[in-house]
């Protein structure tokens, strides 16, 4: 996404598509949350895991 309003558009459009209503306080909280989460999400997505074998239905109580 590019442009100064991209996050705002993404948030408003995404929530509107689900029929979720927001007020100005919601938007302020969401914008602040997005500022924290989004760079980390982008970093996560940029990690190359193509060669990684997935662990299907892991038993989290034990080593893989």
């Amino acid at each position: 996404m590019e442009g100064a309003n991209a996050p705002d558009q993404f948030i408003r459009a995404g929530l509107a598509a689900m029929g979720i209503e927001v007020d100005e306080i919601d938007l302020a909280v969401i914008a602040a949350t997005h500022e924290v989460f989004w760079p980390a999400i982008l970093d996560l997505l940029s990690l190359d895991t193509a060669d990684l074998e997935p662990e299907l239905f892991p038993d989290l109580s034990q080593a893989p």
Partner: protein, 456 residues
């Protein structure tokens, strides 16, 4: 020393020996809650008649007659959990949860319900439908979360032990902020029965918060339904990771934790090894995304639009934002989980535990839960989950152990993590650390909880 100032195990032993009357101990615990809780808001509800009924029916178990607190995350037969919030997406009702049954069958007496961070979605404890809990070491500071009340009530010695839950540091962070020992068990080892997210969570566990490791061992044994044998952690191989979790911390935390690691090595006759563990940041956001979406179980756009008006503005906004988490990020989070689990499995072939600070800075102010790290100012939540998330993401056990005081007199803590199922080793290592520092940190109490002399 008054009976309620004894450790959990010593209270149990004194009752078993006939030296302490459990009815008197219960009355004393209730009186102390009345006296100390107003300053802390750690306990959100007591029910003296129910507690007396539990005592009257208590079997001769390992905690016979001992008062304990349980987090507002578990239903009781007479009270549904509120999860620190005005409303949950999941249906709740009074019932016998696993932790309740485990405590009851051990003979324990639940004396109150502990406050918690609203919806479990924070590590500070400064937001709750009941109002914030406060840190006994400084009532203007965060007690940590989300198990804020269990930690604050135990640190203030209203009780000697409490049951909390940990989905992203929620036992370890409040233990660290309040100067307690807190065990996040291996995934699925402690009972989660009756939790409103039991069927969906892949990160949350129940666990104990107590003054020291021996009490945690006792309470964990009850939650696990099996006796946790004690060892000596001899020859402990300690892994140290030179990443943000150990480097981007305030100097006094770093110094206290480095000194504690050296003490632990010396006490156990072990060795310290630097070990690589890259991508901790990726593991952190993976854990954050997983818990944030698992907790949405039961949320529909209609329900999100009709949130209870007493849900905090912060969680109202965050709940709506969580509805936007991209599916591809969740898929990637699971891949990162697999990657980190394999890395940890390989790493735990080389070392027995890995060690880094439980939290990068001591408890922040309640009215502004920010921490100033070498990398800059950061919300305490953001800083804390970086240290905590890996154990929840991978299912491994972890323990927070008090190791010092800040210049402001606030507790500092070291976190130890071990391989799956090695909870006992973490308790052994914590006890070795206590021996190494002559129990200085586990025995110290905040001023409002100084040991009261027995009346002549």
């Amino acid at each position: 020393m008054k009976a309620q100032d004894l450790s959990l195990r010593d209270q149990a032993a004194a009752i078993a020996a006939g030296d302490v009357d459990p009815s008197e101990l219960l009355d004393a615990a209730l009186a102390r809650i009345e006296e100390r809780n107003p300053a802390l808001n750690a306990i959100v509800e007591t029910f003296p008649e129910r507690s007396r009924e539990m005592l009257a029916a208590a079997p001769e178990g390992p905690l016979h007659g001992v008062p304990v607190v349980i987090k507002d995350e578990w239903p009781l037969p007479w009270r549904a959990q509120r999860f620190g919030a005005a409303e949950l997406f999941q249906a709740t009702a009074p019932e016998e949860s696993g932790p309740y049954r485990a405590l009851r069958d051990a003979g324990a007496v639940i004396v109150g319900v502990g406050n918690m961070h609203e919806l479990g979605m924070g590590t500070t404890g400064n937001i709750s439908v009941y109002g914030p809990a406060r840190n006994p070491w400084d009532t203007d500071r965060c007690p940590g979360g989300s198990s804020s009340g269990p930690a604050a009530s135990t640190a203030a010695r209203m009780v000697a032990g409490a049951v909390g839950a940990d989905g992203l540091g929620s036992i370890r962070v409040p233990a660290a902020y309040c100067g307690l020992t807190g065990l996040k068990p291996t995934f699925a080892r402690a009972t989660m029965e009756g939790h409103h997210l039991e069927a969906v969570t892949t990160v949350a566990v129940s666990g104990p918060l107590c003054a020291d490791a021996a009490d945690c061992r006792l309470l964990a044994s009850i939650l696990f339904g099996e006796k946790l044998a004690a060892g000596d952690a001899a020859g402990l191989r300690i892994g140290v990771v030179r990443e943000s979790v150990s480097e981007d911390v305030v100097p006094e935390v770093r110094e206290a934790c480095e000194a504690a690691i050296e003490s632990l090595r010396a006490e156990t006759g072990g060795a310290v090894h630097e070990v690589p563990l890259p991508d901790i940041e990726a593991a952190t956001i993976a854990g954050v995304l997983i818990i944030n979406t698992e907790n949405l179980h039961g949320a529909t756009p209609q329900r999100v639009n009709n949130l209870h008006p007493d849900i905090s503005p912060l969680n109202r906004g965050i709940t709506k934002y969580r509805m936007l988490v991209p599916a591809v990020a969740l898929v990637q989070a699971e891949r990162v989980r697999a990657m980190m689990r394999r890395r940890l499995a390989a790493l735990f072939e080389q070392v027995d535990v890995i060690a880094w600070p439980t939290v990068p800075a001591p408890a922040p102010p309640l009215d502004s839960p920010m921490v100033e790290l070498p990398s800059g100012a950061l919300a305490a939540d953001q800083a804390n989950v970086r240290s905590a998330a890996l154990a929840n993401l991978t299912g491994t056990p972890a323990i927070s152990v008090p190791v010092g005081r800040s210049a402001d007199g606030l507790p500092l803590a070291l976190q130890l993590q071990a391989a799956w199922g090695r909870d006992e080793l973490l308790l052994d290592a914590a006890e070795a650390l206590e021996r190494a520092n002559e129990r200085r940190w586990v025995a110290s109490r905040p001023p409002l909880a100084e040991v009261e002399p027995t009346e002549a």
